[in-house]
């Protein structure tokens, strides 16, 4: 049986189990230790990706006998092969169900992450470079102000002629802030200042480079449904971190919240009818999750519980990581 006999099969199965154990311990630890600061949560959740991707080969280097029958039967806490060898009513192998489950996750990964990237890069090539609109003095002074405040080089700003409200930071090393004329028209000066400050937070944190690095782990575990969820949570944490940096720069959480409301999509969310096209449903789900994240950020900014537990408690973090490593060693 491929899943239990080959190195890749064992890697796939054990990585899934290790991330399941890791996510359970980490999410519970976040609650128990009272980790509220998004940066701390980000560090904890990152372990849900980093540990499982590397654990299996490291464990095998430490103990070559870890995948033997003796270890599995005598020492392991959990041996997934016991489940994978089961055949329901003697005809349906559990391993086949498990494979279909992983295949489903891989298809979602492909549709959700790979196709948009390919489509995006093709459309960029096709569209070519449009001439950007001139940057007005007001935006220029904002850029100047935040560059100085965060001690980073002043990034170029591209204003694109589009009615859709857009603001983003492009580039992983040399950053460019891209703004749409539609957004400039929609936001008042203070809202725009907060939106620009948020992009500066991403530049200061090197969010794009970090997200790409995390995305590589995501690619390595494309079959893993837990990674799919955790990756989104990490991106969400990154947004919270940047919101917090923005608030320290502008001191106006409510203004940032009001600016975010502009991005709150008015599109149809989840369509109740399954008669609609798959693409409509996919768009509906994407809008729904996009709005959910915005709603959460707005609620958080309008509440009073931001910037708590500023000091990262390394002791508790290391204890949590050590426990995950120890428990997963016995999960084969």
């Amino acid at each position: 049986m491929w899943l239990s006999n080959t190195f890749i099969g064992m890697y796939v199965v054990q990585t899934f189990m290790h991330s399941l154990v890791a996510v359970l311990i980490i999410e519970r630890a976040i609650r128990i230790w009272g980790v509220k600061n998004p940066l701390s949560r980000f560090r904890y959740r990152l372990m849900t990706l980093i540990l499982p991707v590397s654990m299996f080969p490291v464990y095998n280097l430490i103990n070559m006998d870890r995948n033997t029958l003796f270890f599995r039967e005598e020492k392991a806490l959990f041996n997934i092969n016991r489940w994978l060898t089961i055949e329901i009513w003697d005809i349906i192998p559990v391993s086949a169900i498990f494979l279909i489950f992983l295949l489903g996750t891989s298809i979602i990964f492909f549709l959700q992450e790979v196709i948009p990237i390919i489509r995006d890069s093709f459309s960029k090539e096709k569209d070519g470079n449009h001439d950007p609109l001139p940057v007005n003095a007001e935006i220029d002074s904002m850029v100047e102000e935040f560059s100085e405040a965060l001690g980073i080089e002043k990034p170029p700003v591209n204003i694109i002629d589009s009615e859709t409200p857009v603001i983003l930071t492009a580039g992983t090393k040399d950053h460019t802030i891209i703004l749409s004329s539609g957004l400039i028209n929609l936001l008042d000066r203070e809202q725009l200042r907060n939106a620009v400050a948020h992009e500066f937070a991403h530049i200061a944190r090197r969010s794009n480079a970090t997200t790409w690095a995390i995305f590589i782990i995501r690619i390595l575990m494309f079959f893993n449904p837990i990674v799919l969820i955790v990756f989104r949570k990490i991106v969400q944490d990154d947004e919270h971190i940047c919101d917090d940096i923005t608030v320290t720069l502008t001191k106006k959480p409510f203004v940032l919240a009001s600016a975010l409301k502009v991005f709150y999509s008015s599109h149809d969310e989840l369509k109740p009818s399954f008669m609609g096209r798959i693409t409509d449903m996919k768009e509906g789900i994407e809008n729904y999750s996009h709005n959910l994240l915005l709603k959460e950020r707005i609620t958080r900014l309008e509440g009073e519980d931001i910037n708590e537990d500023k000091y990262f408690e390394w002791g508790k973090f290391l204890l949590t990581v050590s426990v995950i490593i120890a428990v997963n060693y016995f999960v084969v």
């Binding site: 005598e74 428990v327 016995f330």
Partner: protein, 180 residues
Amino acid sequence: MEKTKRTKLGMYLSFGVTILTIVLVLKLLNWIPSSFQKEDIRKYKTVEDVKANLKGARVYVPAYFPEKIKWPPAEIFAQKKPFLLIMMHFAHIDSMDIALSVYQADSKANFEPRRDILYVKKESSLSIKGREGRLVMAVCRGNERCNSLSLEEGRFRLTLVADDTPEQLIKMAESMLHGE
């Protein structure tokens, strides 16, 4: 101050309980398949238990043992699925170290007993009671002798691995087989 201490203790206790719960759930999930699945790999106490569970399949056990090997087997594992496999480990008479391992596996299963061979000294083919066999003289991790003898018997491949001489291995293999 006292309250903070108590809260901290509560946190660690709660974390400990969480880990304990996860460990217990894993143990339970590990046990569930074996409670209704009688065909996957299990540990057995006696050779008779294996025979009773693997109805119809012949269990090969040497009738001859060198004096230093202790009877009965120290460990017995067997499975019906995905392929038939029986493993027996015999301990030294004066220690708990494994002196002999006997593997009986379905020849179609591509099962190879795991050994940490440092180097092979000699490999040769031989005939044991009319069956084609292969003798491998090797040194394993810890500079220990780990000679092995494999042979095809009906639908099974029998393998003996022992810290013993080739002559003793051949004698033990012969005692497992019927015929001349």
